[in-house]
């Protein structure tokens, strides 16, 4: 019996210190609730001087400090940091009346507020204000005619904004370049100012696309020459249409009965449509000529660089609803004219400086294109309804990635349902593809015939 008591006593003595962890801050030392590797997140946040509030309606906590805000919910593994959603490295839990998470989670919540956490639960923790700038590594790769810049290092991804002569990446805390960057391809150089890393572009180059990647967090900027092959410089005698065969390469798209692949169907129909348009004297470019992987935003970027008169993305559909059949034509939703989307699209396409006026002008141009896009979509859909024998199916709007940022009338066409047993077979047959291409070409030609002439250039 004494041995059992002794064991219980020793367990209690050993366990007691693990109930709390000592946290040292620049101004004080405090004991914070802890279990195993979990610590009380609210207490740690308050030790930084952050104001922590609970919103009963949302069931979430908000910590604010120095103009930054972090929102998180017990039971979740996500946080909203200054309005941007961010995955956390672990879950936030409720435990014995405390809101707890592991040290990685605590660090992720502290970083946007300008604090860092060092040490471990066993030996104690130190809270320090994050004054040291995080290193950013820039890797520059030449890819065909493009220059790809990959920025990595800081755990939180930056926001991108057009800047004078380049692109600014805004991080949540101060950054520094891990190594000097030599000019290469379209990248003229890089400079740091506090939280902002600015990529300077060589004159004549522009940002073709920019997007974040996870695991590890990276931000990719693709630079392209504004006039890659002199195409846009050449005075065209007639209209130019960019046809986008949806999917391709690793992205097979939908799969129909008999292993019919969407990427093959769209390429076949795009080629046939291009033939018919060229026969009518229209210049046509395809976003892919073969079975290639092309990023969605690069497809629109090509049309923008070529200053195309119309952009048509061809797809084949699939639906969980039994019996779904027929063609659908979409154009960009009006949502895309909201300031957030306009800013995103401007980042993708415009080499212009960051000015409110520039953003407003882009927005107006985009809204103006909505009407023309609706007309392009209707011209195509009306003719596809005849092919499929469907009386009245109108055009629809939705925020498609491949249409975001298009600076010309643009539409996405679903030529038929691969998921429908009969229609799926039909759209894979050359004669049906020919009739669909006839309808697409006729719709595009009708649109171009009725398109208003471009505005004359202003006289000085």
């Amino acid at each position: 019996m004494p041995i059992r008591w002794l064991t219980a006593f020793l367990a209690a003595v050993v366990a007691a210190p693990l109930m709390a962890v000592t946290v040292v801050t620049p101004s004080r030392t405090a004991e914070v609730f802890s279990r195993a590797d979990l610590v009380d997140l609210l207490e740690i946040l308050r030790l930084t001087g952050a104001e922590v509030e609970f919103a009963p309606a949302a069931g979430s906590y908000t910590a604010r400090r120095a103009g930054h805000e972090v929102q998180f919910t017990p039971g979740g593994s996500l946080a909203v940091v200054d309005g941007r959603l961010q995955p956390l490295p672990g879950p936030i839990r409720s435990l014995e009346g405390h809101t707890v998470g592991n040290l990685a989670v605590a660090s992720a919540l502290l970083a946007p507020l300008g604090w860092s956490l060092q040490g471990d639960v066993g030996s104690g923790l130190t809270l320090a204000q994050a004054g040291d700038a995080a290193p950013v590594t820039l890797v520059v790769v030449r890819e065909g005619g493009a220059t790809v810049v990959v920025a990595s290092g800081p755990p939180a991804l930056p926001r991108a904004r057009p800047a004078s002569g380049g692109l600014a990446l805004l991080y949540q805390s101060p950054v520094r370049l891990a190594a000097p960057v030599a000019p290469e391809g379209g990248l003229g150089g890089a400079s740091i100012d506090g939280n902002t890393l600015t990529l300077q572009l060589v004159p004549g180059w522009e940002v073709a696309a920019s997007y974040p990647l996870d695991d590890p967090p990276r931000f990719v900027v693709r630079l392209a020459s504004a006039f890659p092959t002199g195409e846009a410089e050449v005075q065209r005698s007639g209209p130019l249409v960019v046809i986008d065969p949806g999917h391709g390469g690793e992205d097979q798209g939908a799969q129909g009965a008999g292993a019919v692949l969407e990427k093959s169907v769209t390429l076949a129909v795009a080629r046939l449509t291009a033939e018919r348009l060229r026969a009518a004297g229209i210049e046509v470019r395809l976003t892919r000529e073969g079975d290639e992987t092309v990023a969605l935003r690069d497809r629109t970027a090509l049309a923008n660089r070529l200053r195309a008169d119309a952009f048509v993305s061809i797809h084949a559909n699939a639906s969980p609803a039994r019996g779904a059949r027929g063609a659908e034509t979409y154009y960009m939703s009006a949502d895309a004219s909201d300031p957030q989307a306009a800013a995103a699209a401007e980042r993708e396409n415009a080499p212009a400086e960051t000015t409110t006026l520039g953003l407003i002008l882009w927005d107006l141009a985009h809204v103006a294109n909505l009407n023309a896009s609706a007309r392009l979509a209707r011209e195509i859909q009306d003719r596809l309804n005849v092919v499929h024998g469907i009386a009245a199916r109108g055009v629809k709007q939705a925020p498609f990635v491949v249409l975001t940022g298009a600076t010309m009338p643009a539409a996405l066409v679903e030529i038929g349902f691969l998921s429908h047993p009969e229609e799926g077979q039909l759209v894979s047959q050359p004669d049906t593809q020919g009739r669909i291409a006839d309808a697409l070409a006729a719709g595009i030609l009708a649109f171009l015939r009725n398109a208003p002439p471009p505005a004359p250039a202003e006289q000085p």
């Binding site: 997007y211 969980p320 939705a398 498609f400």
Partner: protein, 184 residues
């Protein structure tokens, strides 16, 4: 055995001290999370009606009324209930927008009235075609905005991650509802 008595007494004293230390530590470390007031009467559950949308073969979204036993007390809970009801599928024979055994893993409501919901991810290649994608996303967006007061826009995450797209729609930002996709 008399020699054991002092040892037992010392052990009991130390155990008592350790227990007291634990209690003090717990009471000092307790956060200011919402506290239930003792004696508050249990509120009577009020049933609520929700409006869900499911895709049909005409490619439109179809309304379906759904009664739930208790009105969700918060926007966050409302959003979770709506999504769980959507995941349970249609009771009127419409297609299920979620074509995999999905679960609602987390729901946020931002101060701007945006719902951010984390859904378990679909297997690769599961969401195919624009119609599937539009049905999936806008059944959730339209249902949440129609059923939960105060919700303006919705962003769906899959597996805790922001998904730019399943190949068609831009899912990288909160989406507004689209009444034009609803069957007349």
């Amino acid at each position: 055995m008399r020699w054991l008595r002092p040892l037992v007494a010392a052990i009991l004293l130390l155990v008592g001290l350790a227990a007291a230390a634990v209690l003090v530590s717990r009471s000092r470390g307790r956060s200011t999370a919402p506290v239930e007031v003792p004696g508050t009467p249990e509120p009577t559950p009020v049933p609520a009606s929700m409006t869900l949308f499911f895709p049909g073969p005409d490619l439109a979204l179809h309304r379906e009324r759904r009664l739930v036993a208790e009105r969700p007390p918060t926007t966050q809970r409302c959003a979770a209930v709506v999504l769980e009801e959507l995941l349970a599928g249609s009771q009127e024979g419409w297609a299920s927008p979620f074509t995999w055994p999905a679960s609602v893993d987390a729901v946020f409501v931002t101060s701007a009235g945006n719902v951010v919901a984390d859904i378990s991810p679909p297997p690769a290649g599961q969401v195919q075609g624009t119609a599937s994608e539009v049905g999936l996303i806008y059944s959730a967006v339209n249902s949440l905005v129609a059923s939960c007061p105060g919700v303006a826009r919705v962003q769906l995450l899959f597996g805790g991650r922001q998904v730019e797209s399943f190949g068609h729609l831009d899912l990288s930002r909160p989406l507004a509802p689209r009444p034009d996709l609803v069957a007349p």
